[in-house]
């Protein structure tokens, strides 16, 4: 078996193949490789590995569409545009139970509007709190009549003398 040349360490030869050495050492190794086939083959091997790696990386980068990436990100982040017409017809795409629930909600609200619920009673009582309970438009009695209202809830009272 032929003995391997020990003139330069493999790391130094690898840096030589990658052009990473200073000029002095670079020239020394270049002069050495002119007469040493073993070192030249080692350097050629390093260079082939480097070229293969460079080609592989370059091919991956060339197929990566950075313009498409920007468009894709904008589409994901930006809110979807939808007109009123689309929203109306989107209702038809809802599931059945959602449709039934929405119909039930409309009916409950409709009934609450006409029925006596604590909510609408309180709102009405609040807005009409300062009005008299009754407005007397005419009165006819055989003798004296008094009309007054209570201070707290404006309850209207008519008092008449029967005789």
């Amino acid at each position: 078996m032929k003995k391997q040349c020990q003139a330069y360490a493999p790391e130094v030869l690898s840096r030589f193949a990658d052009n990473e050495l200073d000029d002095v050492l670079y020239r020394q190794i270049q002069a050495h490789t002119d007469g040493c086939n073993q070192c030249r083959q080692v350097i050629d091997g390093y260079r082939q590995v480097s070229q293969a790696a460079s080609h592989a990386i370059a091919s991956k980068v060339s197929t990566f569409d950075t313009g498409g990436l920007g468009t894709a990100v904008i589409e994901r982040v930006a809110p979807q545009k939808s007109g009123g017409f689309k929203k109306v017809f989107d209702y038809f795409s809802l599931k059945l139970y959602l449709k039934v629930a929405s119909v039930a909600a409309v009916m409950v609200l409709g009934l609450a509007y006409f029925q006596d619920t604590p909510l609408n009673m309180n709102m009405r009582e609040f807005s009409e709190l300062r009005e008299p309970s009754a407005i007397v438009t005419s009165v006819d009695a055989r003798s004296s009549v008094m009309i007054f209202e209570t201070e707290k809830s404006k309850h209207t009272v008519i008092w008449f003398s029967e005789t």
């Binding site: 009405r124 209570t150 707290k152 008519i158 029967e162």
Partner: protein
């Protein structure tokens, strides 16, 4: 452009028809409920003496005590009626008296009532009032058993 959204089949049209019919039914029920007036008359005997307020007058007692000097309020009669417009509701009163109440129209959120009180064959009192919906008016004056009679009349339309 709009073609995907106009994919409305017969099932969806039927569903919308049911929704519209239900909504109209609810609206119609509300209108019909307003054709009659729920009228309630309470006849109260107010007098002086031992303090007493009947349970049926809890909502009214504080109001009466704020304007009258009576200490006893007894509910001697209570009558509820569903009256159509211009329909007369009659309530018999002590001492051969009669109270006649009749809703005549609606004015905004108020019910117009015509109220008369008769003693024997004579009309002794008559008034027309615009009563706030779900509210009441009290009319008093006739003497009865060492006290006086009060008539509390409430009206409600839906």
């Amino acid at each position: 452009m709009f073609k995907p959204y106009l994919n409305v089949n017969r099932y969806q049209i039927s569903l919308w028809a049911v929704i519209i019919i239900c909504a109209l039914s609810v609206f119609t029920a509300g209108v019909q409920a307003g054709d009659r007036v729920n009228t309630h008359v309470r006849v109260i005997h107010a007098a002086q003496g031992a303090r007493h307020i009947d349970a049926g007058l809890d909502d009214l007692a504080a109001e009466l005590e704020s304007v009258f000097r009576y200490t006893s309020y007894r509910l001697i009669q209570s009558k509820g009626m569903m009256l159509g417009y211009n329909e007369k509701g009659r309530v018999g009163l002590p001492g051969k008296r009669m109270l006649v109440v009749s809703p005549t129209s609606i004015d905004g959120q108020r019910i117009q009532y015509r109220i008369t009180i008769h003693k024997g064959k004579k009309q002794v009192f008559q008034t027309q009032v615009l009563l706030k919906n779900r509210s009441s008016i009290t009319i008093g004056g006739p003497q009865f058993k060492k006290g006086y009679l009060l008539f509390n009349i409430s009206g409600r339309i839906n």
